[in-house]
């Protein structure tokens, strides 16, 4: 579980996060949504410890991350998996070596054991035949799946994803969303996803937090987001014609 209390973050004069509190539970897919510039990425980077913050606290299972010693922070980071927006695979390593990377850095496993574990995870993301390819030879969807495999290979307790399906076609995006959701439930991980994608919200949003201007404007789930009267949320959710029609259909059905 990750507990965030009254988080404030500024860059010079710009106050980006204005006292956000949230709880992200284990085994749930937690989505952070909001418009560009709402503070989602800054919030995620604070959670990851890439940004320091002026006020508030972030607790990982009761331990305040910022107060940990360097060694403990390092141990904690070994329990974190991250899927970056652009996948962030290491260009000079093959797909299999990319997946083995966290094992090489944080475990004392033998090379064969690492390879076996990497292959199990690659199989889990349906990439068992791609291990000798270079990242540049893989499609966007494959790269995302490799990034997921790399993030989960060391059995993380926490999984963070920054726009995991940006730049993917709708079908592949759903495959990636479902994969993350299944892995979260299967390995009982606390997953936090930063997204703009309303399809993801509808598919996998066990817990959704809506940010606006550095504040938490709404909190709920995929079941409640379409029934909310919160104007800020409805403006965002129904900004596309497709979702406007979905809403009209839901309202019609309820009548």
């Amino acid at each position: 579980m990750i507990e965030v209390k009254n988080l404030h973050k500024s860059f010079g004069e710009a106050h980006i996060l204005k006292g956000i509190s949230a709880t992200f539970h284990q085994g749930q897919t937690n989505l952070i949504i909001g418009q560009s510039g709402s503070g989602k990425s800054v919030f995620l980077k604070c959670l990851l410890g890439l940004y320091s913050y002026e006020q508030g606290s972030i607790e990982y299972n009761g331990e305040i991350f910022a107060d940990l010693s360097e060694d403990k922070k390092r141990d904690m980071r070994a329990k974190i998996g991250m899927v970056f927006q652009g996948s962030a695979l290491f260009d000079s390593l093959t797909i299999e070596e990319n997946v083995m990377f966290p094992l090489r850095m944080f475990t004392k496993l033998k090379k064969d054991e690492m390879r076996d574990r990497a292959n199990i995870v690659l199989k889990r993301v349906n990439l068992e035949d791609a291990h000798n390819k270079m990242p540049s030879e893989a499609s966007g969807g494959m790269q995302k799946r490799v990034a997921i495999a790399r993030a989960i290979v060391n059995n993380p307790k926490y999984l963070f994803c920054d726009e995991p399906n940006s730049g993917l076609d709708p079908k592949t995006a759903i495959v990636i969303d479902n994969l993350i959701h299944e892995i979260t439930e299967e390995y009982k991980i606390t997953t936090v996803i930063n997204t703009h994608d309303m399809n993801s919200v509808m598919e996998i949003g066990d817990h959704i937090m809506f940010l606006k201007d550095g504040l938490k404007a709404w909190e709920g789930s995929k079941d409640t987001i379409f029934r909310t009267d919160n104007e800020v949320v409805t403006d965002f959710v129904y900004s596309s014609n497709l979702f406007k029609k979905v809403r009209e259909a839901i309202i019609k059905e309820n009548k």
Binding site: R74, M82, Q85, G86, F101
Partner: protein, 245 residues
């Protein structure tokens, strides 16, 4: 003010790259890869340039000696002094600022742009140690490249002398041996080690701290070449003043 800030950040980077070392089994592979990329990969171009520039230095010296009272051995002597003292360590390092420096800046810069450095940081890896330290160790072998440049520069000069008919082989070799100061070799290698440090760290600094996209990677490579060259020239002046004057 920005210059001071950058200089401060550069020195902090140097301190940081020795902290939280990467696992030795991983580091060993990174060092070997960087030796291959930065040292072995540079030998071909260094050999080519050194051989021909050595020849040109000999021809220029020979053509400018038109006084019959000046002994022909001076051609070998001047070639040796030019190559050992300045051409091999300094001129070659400026060429390497273009070749090795651009490679380092663009490879680290691309990792920055594509969030690969963030990925290392999230995993709790000291990205400076992981990326820059192996390059620094690899560049410790840079004097080996400069030794090849020195040797081939003199051989190029000898060839140009023989085939151009400017002096006899005996005259040239006598010139090479004349008034040889072993300390000049020490001076050249002290400079080479200093240049190796600069060649590994300044381009790394420009790549690591760059902001923006692909266009900025190109700009960072150019800036890194300019500042590495400036640092080499200044260090060359200071080292010469301190060690030879």
């Amino acid at each position: 003010m920005q210059y001071l800030h950058n200089i401060g950040t550069y020195f902090l980077m140097i301190i940081e790259l020795f902290r939280k070392p990467t696992k030795w089994s991983v580091m060993r592979e990174l060092i070997l890869k960087d030796i291959d990329d930065l040292i072995i990969g540079s030998i071909g171009i260094v050999a080519f340039i050194a051989f021909f520039v050595g020849g040109v230095v000999t021809i220029q010296t020979a053509l400018n000696i038109d006084n019959p009272l000046i002994p022909k051995e001076l051609i070998g002597f001047a070639t040796r002094q030019s190559i050992l003292l300045e051409f091999a360590p300094t001129f070659m390092s400026i060429i390497m600022a273009g070749k090795v420096g651009s490679f380092i800046t663009s490879s680290i810069g691309t990792m920055r742009v594509t969030e690969q450095i963030d990925a290392l940081e999230v995993m709790g890896i000291n990205s400076l140690n992981y990326l820059v330290f192996p390059k620094l160790v690899a560049m410790a072998f840079y004097p080996f490249v400069i030794s090849i440049a020195m040797f081939l520069g003199v051989i190029g000069g000898l060839m140009a002398c023989i085939y151009g008919g400017y002096a006899s082989v005996d005259d040239f070799i006598t010139g090479i041996q004349q008034e040889f100061e072993p300390f000049h070799i020490v001076y050249a290698f002290i400079k080479t080690f200093l240049f190796a440090f600069v060649l590994a760290t300044i381009p790394s600094f420009h790549g690591y701290y760059m902001k923006g996209g692909a266009l900025e990677v190109g700009k960072a490579s150019t800036t890194s070449f300019v500042w590495t060259s400036v640092a080499i020239i200044i260090i060359n002046y200071l080292a010469t003043q301190l060690l030879l004057s």
